[in-house]
């Protein structure tokens, strides 16, 4: 049973925090991309094409991080039964799908000049495609299920199941023969490439954290309108806009 004792949506005491994060993230991405494009040296074998790594690898790290956070929100949503975790889950799934889709597009653009093909059914690419479609399916599920309580439970369970693929994506290059190179880390990447990789990673992290916070507030507003009872005939019976049965304005959504 979902806990309706907290209001679904409350105004944040710091409404500008997500916009500040988006601003910081954008500035970091501009700086990191400038260094990656014009300052960092070209890689010995891949030449300038390797510069795609400075957006591709940070996107991969953040996609996996966001989908792992979605898994935590799904567990908390089932465990605590508080709507805020469902709102945050909806937000994390959408951001995770956007980043994972972008990851596939960047990978295809990098694959063409290095492998000679846009796409190959290799273990890393196949498991990543499964990951995108699994979480996309959860987004579709959320749009089809109209009853909020059922939607929250079903999507949390589906997220926990879909998350099984995330570590498989990460370790696929270790477990199977793959065209894709091993995971990039400070140990496997030359030191001259570290700076743009790190700056862009934090850039995407700040940007998408801000976006997730706003997206969670959007989910909370939509939920509030869904949980509100239909207007009475005279349109004046409700004393306030707050959902009946909800408590004082405490808690947050993002």
């Amino acid at each position: 049973m979902r806990d309706n004792s907290n209001p679904v949506y409350t105004e944040s005491s710091r409404p500008w925090t997500p916009y500040a994060l988006i601003g910081i993230g954008t500035v970091l991405l501009l700086i990191g991309s400038y260094i990656g494009l014009f300052v960092a040296p070209a890689e010995h074998y891949m030449g300038d094409v390797q510069r795609i790594m400075y957006v591709h690898v940070p996107t991969a790290w953040n996609a996996m991080l966001v989908l792992s956070v979605a898994f935590i929100f799904a567990v908390l949503s089932l465990w605590r039964g508080d709507w805020k975790w469902d709102n945050r889950l909806e937000s994390a799934i959408e951001v995770g799908v956007v980043l994972s889709f972008l990851l596939c597009v960047q990978g295809a653009i990098w694959a063409k000049p290095t492998w000679g093909v846009w796409w190959d059914w290799d273990p890393r690419l196949t498991t990543t495609a499964v990951m995108v479609f699994a979480f996309l399916g959860i987004m579709v599920l959320r749009n089809f299920v109209e009853e909020p309580g059922r939607r929250a439970t079903w999507s949390a369970v589906a997220t926990i199941i879909a998350f099984i693929d995330v570590p498989i994506v990460y370790f696929s290059v270790n477990w199977w023969n793959s065209l894709h190179q091993l995971q990039s880390s400070p140990e496997t990447v030359s030191e001259s490439f570290h700076l743009p990789l790190r700056i862009n990673s934090f850039g995407i992290l700040f940007l998408m954290t801000g976006v997730m916070m706003i997206r969670a507030r959007l989910a909370a507003l939509r939920l509030e309108s869904e949980l509100a009872p239909p207007l009475p005939a005279d349109g004046k019976s409700l004393e306030s806009g707050r959902v009946p049965g909800t408590g004082p304005a405490v808690g947050g959504n993002a």
């Binding site: 956007v98 653009i109 309108s225 306030s240």
Partner: protein, 49 residues
């Protein structure tokens, strides 16, 4: 044949362009959807009070 990839800047620009476009458009869509929903909710609350 040296085994080294020559050129390829068009792929680099494509990757950075697609990344900027997708992240920028998605961020804008979230902000626009949120502001639209917030103003609708505010109007609804005002109508109820």
């Amino acid at each position: 044949m040296t085994g080294e990839i020559q050129g390829g800047w068009e792929f680099v620009w494509a990757a950075y362009g697609v990344s900027a476009a997708l992240m920028g458009l998605y961020t804008a869509s979230v902000i626009i959807r949120y502001r639209g929903m917030k103003s609708r909710t505010t109007r609804k609350r005002e109508g109820l009070s």
